[in-house]
């Protein structure tokens, strides 16, 4: 059952090949067996089985099936789940049990899904390796040929990515602030979609950077991403930034092909030191789309080089404020102290790991008196220029094709002592985040060491349908069917 995707499960249940309970029980065993990946923070067997039993009951009663009936799902431990502890992989929230359920996980539950595990992430979603987690690093199921060093799954949604890549679960939930769905998807050889900002509700997701955070699906194929996104998305009156856009039938859109689509290839994404394999794959991706009927257009997104520095002002600034609520007063860790000021300082020292502290300090600095305009306001201005680049490009193209990440998965522990080197992982994913655009990573090939590489497609606001269509064409042409060593 490990190979079944969302569409397969739907069909299998309909044909009575297996019950939802059989499937979920099977996957719960697989989850236990996947311990070596360190991808799971908290298992939710009861919750998953309850959902599966309900799905079987509906089928037995002759009721119409729900779109995600019986589908076991990995949930990044950043989504609050009622009565199940939600940690953000931080010591700060190690024993926090929310008395509420995030809108996205509630939507999935209402669609029949069996949420089965809370998965590991970089602490508070700050990282590109899942190594800053309180619970230790998650391991990428992939290894390089002739190199037994464990690899990073990317991050911050590395736990969900690893479980999906290892065929433990058919789908996972991630969140993406600057690439945290797409980069781990590329590192793990799966599909990861960051929807348009505002497409999925942020209510109940532990906030990192509010103007950038967006939930999205992580699956083994493009069709499943379309199915999962449709169940996650929709307007939420509890989130002021949630869009009142209709949610189209993303799955139906996949059939439309890419004929007459114009795909832009931005010259600024060709960066120094990019591995040859990636450059080759990128050109090949463009050729595949052309062969499928799309028109390839060279475009310029001139402010691309400034996206990463812009992001590393805006995201920490918002984070420094979003994380101010972790003060040891109402929930979470409290370090004992005799005075309140001492309690704050000790609690936040003990509760936050090094990378979180670093970003909170950077964010505090760029917002502080005398520096605000030079850093924060400046970054907001450049952010508008970056968004403007895309807006202009979308006047003549329908989607942008780029690599997802500048490298394949690096060995665990690498880049940990050089923040900027780590930040460079997000060089290709951050621009779409700043502009709020939908973007997907599709596994398109392997590098010379057998590690997966991803290509990214970026679309117009709320035009996930076109992004998914183009991704489907890439997927079909790439014929990516390699499996990681962990599975073999």
């Amino acid at each position: 059952m490990r190979r079944l995707g969302l569409a397969d499960i739907r069909a299998g249940l309909a044909r009575g090949e297996f019950s939802a309970v059989e499937l979920v029980e099977d996957r719960l065993v697989a989850l236990e067996a996947a311990e070596a990946l360190n991808a799971i923070v908290t298992l939710m067997p009861e919750r998953a089985l309850d959902a599966a039993r309900a799905a079987d009951r509906r089928r037995a009663a002759g009721e119409p099936a729900l779109p995600l009936d019986g589908v076991p799902i990995a949930v990044k431990d950043l989504f609050c789940t009622e009565c199940v502890r939600t940690t953000a992989s931080s010591a700060m929230l190690e024993s926090f049990v929310p008395p509420y359920e995030s809108t996205v996980t509630a939507n999935l539950t209402a669609a029949g899904a069996a949420l089965a595990a809370k998965t590991n992430l970089d602490e508070f979603a700050m990282g590109s390796s899942t190594a800053t987690s309180r619970f230790g690093p998650t391991t990428n199921p992939w290894k390089a040929k002739g190199d037994q060093r464990p690899r990073a799954p990317g991050g911050s949604s590395g736990g969900s990515a690893a479980l999906v890549a290892a065929s433990v679960l058919p789908a996972g939930l991630g969140t993406d602030t600057g690439g945290s769905i797409r980069q781990p998807a590329a590192f793990c050889g799966i599909v990861g979609l960051k929807p348009t900002y505002g497409r999925c509700s942020r209510w109940g997701i532990v906030a990192f950077a509010s103007s950038l955070d967006q939930a999205g699906p992580m699956t083994r194929n493009v069709r499943d991403a379309a199915i999962l996104l449709a169940a996650m998305a929709g307007h939420d009156p509890k989130d002021s930034t949630s869009a009142r856009e209709p949610v189209p039938d993303f799955e139906a859109a996949l059939g439309s092909g890419v004929k007459n689509l114009r795909i832009g290839v931005p010259l600024e994404y060709r960066v120094d030191g990019m591995p040859d394999a990636l450059d080759v794959l990128w050109r090949e991706g463009a050729r595949w789309l052309a062969e499928a009927g799309a028109e390839i257009v060279d475009i310029s997104l001139p402010h691309t080089p400034y996206a990463l520095p812009t992001y590393y002002i805006i995201a920490p600034a918002e984070a420094s404020s979003n994380l101010a609520r972790y003060d040891g007063v109402r929930y979470g860790l409290r370090a004992p102290a005799r005075a309140i000021e001492e309690q704050y300082a000790h609690t936040r020292r003990a509760g936050f790991g090094a990378e979180v502290r670093r970003r909170v300090l950077i964010g505090t600095y760029v917002l502080s008196a005398g520096y605000y305009d030079a850093y924060y306001t400046k970054a907001q201005r450049v952010r508008r220029l970056i968004a403007g680049d895309f807006e202009q490009a979308f006047g003549k193209i329908d989607a942008v094709l780029t690599p997802t990440a500048p490298t394949a998965a690096f060995p665990l522990g690498e880049k940990m002592d050089d923040p900027i080197a780590m930040y460079l992982n997000d060089i290709f994913t951050v621009p779409a985040s700043l502009a709020g655009l939908p973007a997907i990573s599709v596994p398109a090939g392997l590098d010379h060491t057998g590690l997966p590489l991803g290509l990214q497609l970026i679309g117009r606001p709320f035009d996930e349908a076109t992004v998914l269509r183009a991704a489907k064409a890439l997927e079909a042409a790439a014929g990516f069917d390699a499996e990681p060593e962990f599975v073999r």
């Binding site: 309140i340 909170v360 907001q380 923040p419």
Partner: protein, 95 residues
């Protein structure tokens, strides 16, 4: 951009994060390097560009003035590290 130790200590105090003595110097170097890197933005001419404060194209949604929440002190207090009756409790604050 070089950061001095005093600046790091001021920022850490603002952020309410304790830093040990030696750590301040290491952080000064590390944060200084990051700040130096982000200062490449100064190459961009933004004279006529308005800051982008939000991504959403829509306007701020409004809620009606109805009471439809609250009334569950147990849920509010359930994760509290320290309480006194139905209050949260913290070490004594002197004003």
């Amino acid at each position: 951009m070089a950061l001095d130790r005093a600046t790091v200590e001021r920022i850490a105090a603002l952020a309410r994060i304790e830093i040990a003595g030696e750590e301040a110097d290491a952080l000064a170097a590390e944060l200084g390097a990051i700040l130096g890197w982000v200062e490449t933005l100064n190459e961009v001419d933004t004279a006529d560009v308005a800051p982008m404060t939000s991504v959403g194209g829509h306007s701020l949604p409004w809620r009606r003035d109805v009471v439809d929440d609250g009334g569950y002190p147990d849920r509010i207090l359930t994760n509290a590290p320290d309480t006194a009756g139905a209050f949260f409790a913290v070490p004594k604050v002197v004003e």
